[in-house]
Amino acid sequence: MTRTILYIEDNADNSLLVRRALEARGYQFLWAENGLQGLEMIEQKQPDLLLLDINLPDIDGYEVARRLRSSGKGQLAYLPIIAITANALKGDAEKALNAGCDVYMAKPINIRELWARVEAFLPTTE
């Protein structure tokens, strides 16, 4: 079964890099350019995992995570979230985890680590 991953990220270059990496491993890739669009896509497409940039043009990644976790919709509340940030502000990692993200990764995104982190939630050998 193909697993779907949504990446909420406003930078097209980062998105392309991650798309290539994940599609190479057989995942289906979806992209949203901002937080609100991302929340809509999550409702519509029901991805299996969310990659979440923190610095977004509308609502930030913390808010996206908080809305998901408090949505009262069981499936969304338990959607695995990997926060990916340029950690430009103090305490980004702590804030991301407190907002409900499961894992924190700093940019630049090391692709081997990304594969391992995603694989931990969505094993490709099923």
């Binding site: 980004d92 702590e94 990764m105 700093a106 940019k107």
Partner: protein, 385 residues
């Protein structure tokens, strides 16, 4: 003349042109390593000829990345003394205990080696503005070498960085930006600024050449022990450039046919209990580190929540059959006093951490009395007063 041939991704192995400005692999987002034509060097170079040259890191210029000697920016870095530690050794029942005292480098730390190499190469590549995030000593070193080369330096450092690092950077003409955060956050800000302004980011492992300067510590050790490598190297590990660089040096010397023994040193990464991502990953068998939340330690150089080269550090620790040890700040302070009182070496907290780590390894029986053990003191304690 350098034998530098190309750069290579440490992960996928893709080659990159060393005559052009490079950062890290755009596909894997992993560090690049400098590669040399060691087959040619093997036939042309005599290992024993190097000790007849003038002292300093650049006597190994064949294995450093600069092509034109006019671009070499030196302040006399390298050849830091390798001191026997007989009184400390007697207490620990380790008669072959040594301290490599990197605090004797220009700007008072081993960072001088990496920044001499990186800023020299930056000059050669025509770079005019360089930017670095730093826990302290790398900023001071970059400011000094940038001043010497006429490059403009921009330094992002946490606002609790030792004052000496701030002052030495400013007096060398660097622009210092102090931030409310850790080096990881400084790295994020420096990276954004670099992208926005087109400045060259000299962050640890985000360019290929700082590790080249650091690797010369490995050449110096081999030469000092008549081309037989010591049994154990204990290294304070923040970004891990020296640990990775020395392992690379051992690889190169092996390919050059210079080493008398086939056994590599067991590498030990020492971190502070308040920031020990490598130790945690090593102990759990992970191949990469989790970002360390709430990093805190008096050893500012060890406040690195996650190294960009974490996977390489862990790989080399395993390859060397080494280990990773976390020590408390109390143990670091006690070790700093013992190093000074018994051997007259006023070590930086990071350097003192290696002694604290060794004491744990002695208790565990991990080191044996007959082994040759090297502690790396990476900086002078004077900068932390």
């Amino acid at each position: 003349m350098t034998y530098l041939s190309h750069l290579q991704c440490s992960d996928c192995g893709r080659h990159f042109n060393a005559s052009e400005i490079q950062t890290y692999c755009p596909d894997c987002q992993a560090p690049l390593f400098a590669c040399y034509d060691l087959d040619a060097a093997r036939f042309k170079l005599d290992r024993d000829e190097f000790r007849r040259r003038l002292p300093g890191m650049w006597r190994w210029h064949e294995f450093l990345p600069v092509s034109n000697p006019e671009n070499i920016l030196t302040l006399g870095e390298g050849d830091a003394p390798l001191l026997r530690a007989p009184r400390l050794g007697a207490e620990l029942n380790l008669p072959n205990l040594y301290v490599k005292d990197e605090g004797r480098n220009p700007t008072g730390s081993f960072k001088a080696r990496g920044l001499s190499a990186a800023i020299s190469k930056a000059k050669e590549l025509g770079i005019e503005k360089v930017i670095i995030p730093t826990a302290g000593n790398a900023g001071g070193a970059m400011a000094a070498y940038a001043a010497r080369g006429g490059l403009q330096a921009y330094i992002f450092m946490p606002n609790n960085t030792p004052n000496a690092n701030v002052e030495e950077s400013r007096i060398a003409g660097a622009t210092v930006i102090q931030i409310d955060g850790l080096i990881s956050e400084a790295a994020g800000m420096a990276g954004e600024k670099a992208r926005a302004e087109g400045w060259f980011d000299v962050s640890t492992f985000k360019e290929p050449y700082r590790a080249e300067g650091k690797k010369i510590m490995g050449y110096e050790l081999a030469e000092a022990f008549e081309w037989r490598l010591p049994d154990v190297i204990i290294y304070p590990t923040g970004g891990g450039t020296g640990l990775v660089g020395m392992w690379k040096a051992f690889d190169e010397m092996e390919k050059l046919g210079w080493l008398e023994n086939k056994t590599r040193p067991r590498m030990v990464a020492v971190q502070a209990e308040g920031c020990a991502p490598v130790v945690k990953a090593f102990e759990s068998g992970a191949s990469f580190c989790d970002f360390w939340i709430g990093a805190t330690t008096i050893a500012s150089g060890l406040r690195v929540p996650k190294s960009f080269a974490d996977q390489i550090i862990l790989k080399y620790l395993h390859e060397s059959q080494g280990t990773a040890v976390a020590v408390s700040d109390d143990l670091i302070i006690a070790a700093q006093h013992r190093l000074a009182a018994l051997e007259g070496i006023f070590a930086a907290p990071e350097g003192a951490a290696t002694l604290a780590g060794l004491e744990i390894l002695v208790e565990q029986g991990w080191v044996k009395p007959e082994e040759t053990i090297i502690l790396f003191n990476t900086g002078t304690g004077l900068k932390y007063i």
